[in-house]
């Protein structure tokens, strides 16, 4: 395994429009009408023009801590230098020896647009939020595809992305996660003052467990 840090700029990817509609509040198979669709296309174009999308991947080893009896604990472990105690993430990573810490952001220029529309055009504000979210998710999906492709020859694959804020992997982990990625310097992601929310707001951190091909699915968990 390469234990490296990779930095990524813009890569070609396709935004998932269905996902965007869901973020914008559409349920089921409902599709926006023409007026909304044309606003959405405007939003996509604006996000593409204004964002300086970038990401970072840190390939790390997972090392479980041992309990008093010397048994490895499923829910207490290091991913590289990043120390985590979480049953949910432990379950997601079960059977993985390595994982990738990933961070990505759309840059502050998007926040300026979001701020502008939230003050002046609420419809566009909602659609812009949805577009930016779908955009960064699509970026991460593409990264995931790239990594999977790279891992495939070794018979390896990836677990679903797992981000702080899910279950007991709380947003309290956002600070050490960003530190592990040196995200302030590499991506410009910081935490808001007195808060666990990331700035720029359209930023994502996630763990991607590297697993044997065929074990990508994680059993549903009860918390």
């Amino acid at each position: 395994m390469k234990y490296e840090t990779q930095r990524l700029g813009k890569i070609p990817f396709e935004i998932n429009r269905r996902e965007l509609y869901i973020y914008a509040g559409y349920r089921g198979t409902a599709t926006p009408d023409e007026a909304v669709l044309s606003l959405i296309e405007e939003c996509i174009q604006e996000v593409e023009e204004a964002s300086e999308i970038r990401g970072i991947l840190k390939w790390c080893q997972i090392v479980h801590e041992k309990d008093d009896n010397g048994n490895e604990m499923d829910d207490v472990f290091f991913i590289g230098d990043f120390h985590v105690k979480s049953q949910a993430l432990g379950k997601n990573l079960k059977g993985c020896r390595d994982a990738i810490l990933v961070g990505a952001t759309l840059s502050p220029s998007i926040d300026l647009l979001l701020h502008r529309y939230s003050r002046l055009q609420i419809t566009k504000s909602v659609l812009m939020q949805a577009t930016a979210a779908a955009y960064i998710e699509a970026y991460l999906d593409e990264i995931q595809r790239m990594v999977k492709k790279e891992l495939a020859p070794e018979g390896l694959s990836l677990r679903p992305r797992f981000s702080p804020g899910f279950a007991d992997f709380t947003t309290e982990y956002q600070a050490p996660f960003l530190e592990a990625l040196d995200a302030g310097r590499t991506l410009g992601i910081t935490l808001a003052h007195n808060s666990n929310m990331m700035v720029p707001s359209k930023s994502v951190t996630a763990v991607m467990g590297i697993c044997k091909a065929g074990t990508e699915a994680v059993a549903p968990m009860k918390m």
Partner: protein, 834 residues
């Protein structure tokens, strides 16, 4: 240190800075996650050893270990690592080594730089750290460091121009030490918040730093282009502190691969290729060996001279405009003079109106926005500060601060994120004595009106004399002449037929004799005449031809912008006329438009649209106005409402018979999941357009609009995502509730205070995350403890009924429509609160 910088400029000798610290500390016991500054107290010898190594390598400037030292990380009351001890010990450690070294090597110039890194928090409005709070955080560290005896302040690795400004201002206000500021650029040549070298240099030189530059992020090779841009834009020494290449991580360890020899070789190339580059050192991954190689290669060589850049530049947080490159447009719309709606917006504190004007100007091609909010009946300093702050949060253009109130001017200059344009100073001594000190402190390009105590000279000669006087005064204050732009003053030709000629001749002479930039308030020329558009465009063309840099015009005027784009194309400022084509391809002249419209019959005296006659018919969507609201056609709604009022319909009837029923159709559709959020909001915005027309109508008739009750909405403390709250606000307003919007990240006490002060009995709180639901609970508790007679409804992504009950809310509203319904029910129960 100041004298040393002077001497280095004079002698063209290099100033060498030290290199990286992190790797050294890690190899001497710094654990992952441990704050490096704790070594100042726990392991001072490690730092002393490193400082000595750098001095021995030849560095003139050694940094204190205070990069991350601020009260956010080291509170004053921390029992073990209070901020004052951390900073004082850092300075003392470095000074001790330096003093001992200089004693042994009396010929060596060596200085201790108080190292200041970013706070790690992004400033509001992008983040939520208040600008003045950031200034105060930096000021505290710098005061301590200066008192402990640092020789200079080195602000470094700044990636946000606003935080950079806060740090430099703090340094200037906290001490008299020289200030050097270096920033970190990404590979794309921009700051993380978007600024480019030219804009950063303008900001920093405006703030009066002693040297500026770039550090970290990139290796010397990757930095070449950025350094070239910075050096070309600068008029003061430039400092270059790159990493030893780009970082590479292997087995969890970060490596920088550029060897000392490679490093110094590229640094020599950088130093030799650019003027102004006097400061050379390293950042992450560089070692005493890197610095030694650099010093050995350059210490006996003469540096290139420090030469001024004569460009006139204004900047914003994300952009900059070089006025001396080619003509630009300054948007004039944010100014109440002669604009009834803007006046009303200012009186009503309607910030949205002002922001909308700004965005429209930007979309229509303005390069700089003039901001004037002066009205006798409002608090101008407070309003100007707010307008500047809000505009820079939504718009990337540089702003022109336009006021005659010096308190307002300083307040706005201080919080402005960039180097502003200032409108204005003039030849009156009193004015120059008031404005120039502010420009000296905060930086800015000053519009200088060619008038003085004796009024406006009626000759070119007279105006040129005043220009001389203004220059002389600016010289005295040390304000570079490139930052003075002249307003040759436009008077109406309706009262003095020679007025325009004097103005045009003055513009030409200033351009030719000084090479200075000029500004004109173009449309004044036609005051009192019919068809002002004809005179204005002719005059604007003539002015551009005489060398005008910046016309203050209305960017929405197609005729004026037509002149601008045509001029740019004719004068060769628009390669292949691309910009012109972009703006005008596919458009037709107004005459053609009219002809076509008449031919096709689409233009009738009545305005074309059929009249709205479907009142009382069953389906509101079938009426033109109702249908337009349901479909969310904002522009059409405004027009249709105006027409209805013109045709004699009572405004209140329009609300009751069209707007409310149409909103109900949409609201019910939303509740039934047949209409989704974006459509709901489009209808809400369309209805808003109707209300705007109606409100104006009622106002001019002297009738107060009806309110169904007052509601406070707020996104709770710690939460910076306010979209949900904003949606609720828009819908509540649609349903005629009076909404007090407290914004985001709102502390509980502000909610309590406002509820009491404004006598509000219904409060809506929003939170996005589980972690901030706690603040929601705190806010509800605070309201209960203060015995505010109110009900609280809550909403937000992570909330549900159970949660709402748990934190003591009176209601959980799963979406904006439910909040509207809850408010309706509440005020029906409590008519006394309406």
């Amino acid at each position: 240190m100041k004298a040393f910088i002077e001497k280095s400029i004079q002698n063209q000798s290099y100033i060498f800075f030290d290199g990286g610290m992190g790797t050294y500390l890690q190899s001497h016991g710094l654990e992952q996650g441990q704050l490096p500054e704790t070594f100042n107290l726990d392991k001072p010898q490690v730092l002393k050893d490193l400082a000595k190594l750098y001095l021995e390598a030849g560095a003139n400037v050694i940094n204190t270990n205070t990069f991350g030292a601020n009260r956010l990380k080291f509170p004053m009351d921390d029992p073990k690592y209070p901020i004052d001890k951390i900073v004082t010990s850092a300075v003392e450690n470095a000074k001790e080594v330096r003093d001992a070294y200089v004693k042994e090597h009396p010929d060596r110039d060596a200085f201790v730089a108080l190292d200041i890194g970013p706070t790690g928090k992004l400033l509001a409005p992008l983040g939520n750290l208040d600008f003045e709070e950031a200034v105060s955080i930096f000021k505290q560290v710098i005061s301590i460091g200066a008192k402990a005896g640092a020789d200079l302040v080195l602000i470094e690795t700044m990636s946000d121009s606003y935080e950079l400004k806060a740090a430099v201002l703090a340094a200037k206000e906290a001490c008299d030490l020289p200030v050097i500021a270096t920033v970190i650029f990404s590979e794309n040549g921009k700051l993380l918040t978007g600024g480019e070298p030219k804009g950063v240099v303008a900001l920093l030189e405006g703030l009066g730093v002693d040297a500026l530059g770039v550090n970290c992020g990139l290796g010397p090779v990757e930095m070449k282009g950025i350094v070239a841009d910075m050096a070309a834009a600068a008029s003061i020494p430039v400092v270059v502190n790159p990493n030893a290449g780009l970082p590479r991580v292997e087995n969890g360890v970060t490596y920088f691969d550029v060897t000392p020899d490679e490093f110094s070789k590229t640094m020599v190339e950088i130093a030799e290729a650019n003027n102004n580059v006097l400061g050379l050192g390293g950042c992450c991954g560089t070692t005493p060996d890197h610095i030694r190689a650099l010093v050995d290669a350059l210490k006996d060589k003469k540096a290139n001279p420090v030469e001024p850049c004569e460009d006139t530049v204004v900047s914003s947080g994300m952009g900059h405009v070089v006025l001396s490159d080619h003509p630009v447009v300054i948007g004039e719309r944010i100014n109440p003079t002669g604009k009834k709606k803007m006046k009303q917006a200012l009186v009503d504190d309607d910030m949205e109106y002002i922001l909308n004007e700004g965005v429209t100007e930007e979309e229509n091609g303005a390069h700089i926005l003039d901001v004037n909010v002066g009205l006798p009946e409002i608090d101008e300093p407070a309003m100007l500060k707010r307008a500047i702050y809000e505009l820079q949060g939504i718009c990337t253009l540089p702003l022109q601060i336009d006021t005659t109130d010096m308190v307002a001017m300083e307040g706005a200059m201080r919080i402005y994120n960039g180097k502003p344009m200032i409108n204005s100073v003039n030849g009156k001594q009193e004015m120059m004595d008031a404005v120039f000190p502010l420009v000296k402190k905060y930086g800015g390009v000053v519009v200088s009106l060619l008038l003085d105590e004796d009024g406006i000279p009626d000759s070119v000669e007279g105006r040129m004399k005043i220009a001389e006087k203004i220059y002389a005064n600016a010289d005295k204050w040390g304000i570079p002449r490139k930052d003075i732009v002249f307003d040759a003053l436009v008077m109406t030709i309706s009262t003095d037929s020679s007025a325009a000629k004097i103005t045009l001749d003055t513009v030409r002479r200033i351009t030719e004799e000084y090479g200075a930039c000029t500004v004109l308030g173009v449309s004044n020329v036609s005051f009192g005449l019919p068809r002002r558009d004809l005179i204005n465009t002719a005059f604007y063309t003539a002015a551009l031809n005489n060398g005008l840099t910046a016309g203050i015009i209305n960017p929405s005027s197609k005729a004026m912008m037509g002149v601008y784009y045509s001029f740019m194309a004719i004068r060769g400022y628009d390669a292949q006329c691309l910009n012109f084509i972009d703006h005008f391809a596919g458009t037709v002249s107004p005459e053609m438009q009219l002809k076509k419209a008449l031919e096709s019959g689409s233009l009738s005296a009545a305005g074309g649209e059929e009249n709205d006659t479907a009142e009382g018919s069953g389906d509101i969507s079938k009426t033109p106005l109702g249908g337009a609201i349901v479909k969310g056609l904002k522009d059409k709604c405004g027009k249709l409402t105006e027409e209805q009022i013109k045709s004699g319909t009572d405004p209140l009837d329009i609300i009751n018979h069209y707007i409310v029923p149409a909103l109900d159709v949409v609201g019910q559709g939303f509740e039934k999941n047949t209409i989704f959020l974006p459509q709901l909001l489009m209808s809400a915005e369309a209805a808003q357009a109707c209300f705007d027309v109606i409100k104006n109508e009622l106002k001019s008739a002297g009738v107060e609009s009806e309110s169904k009750g007052k509601v406070i909405v707020a996104t709770v403390k710690g939460d910076i995502h306010d979209i949900g709250k904003n949606i609720v606000k828009v819908l509540l307003e649609n349903y005629s509730f009076d909404v007090i919007d407290l914004g985001k990240d709102v502390p509980p006490e502000v909610v309590v205070e406002t509820a009491i002060k404004e006598n509000v009995h219904l409060i809506g709180l929003s939170a996005l995350m589980t972690t901030t639901v706690v603040s929601m609970e705190d806010t509800i508790k605070a309201l209960r403890e203060a015995k505010v007679d109110c009900e609280v409804c809550v909403g937000g992504a992570v909330l549900n009924q159970e949660y709402a009950d748990m934190i003591g809310a009176d209601a959980y509203c799963k979406d904006a429509m439910q909040t509207v319904r809850f408010a309706e029910e509440y005020f029906a129960k409590h008519p006394e609160f309406v």
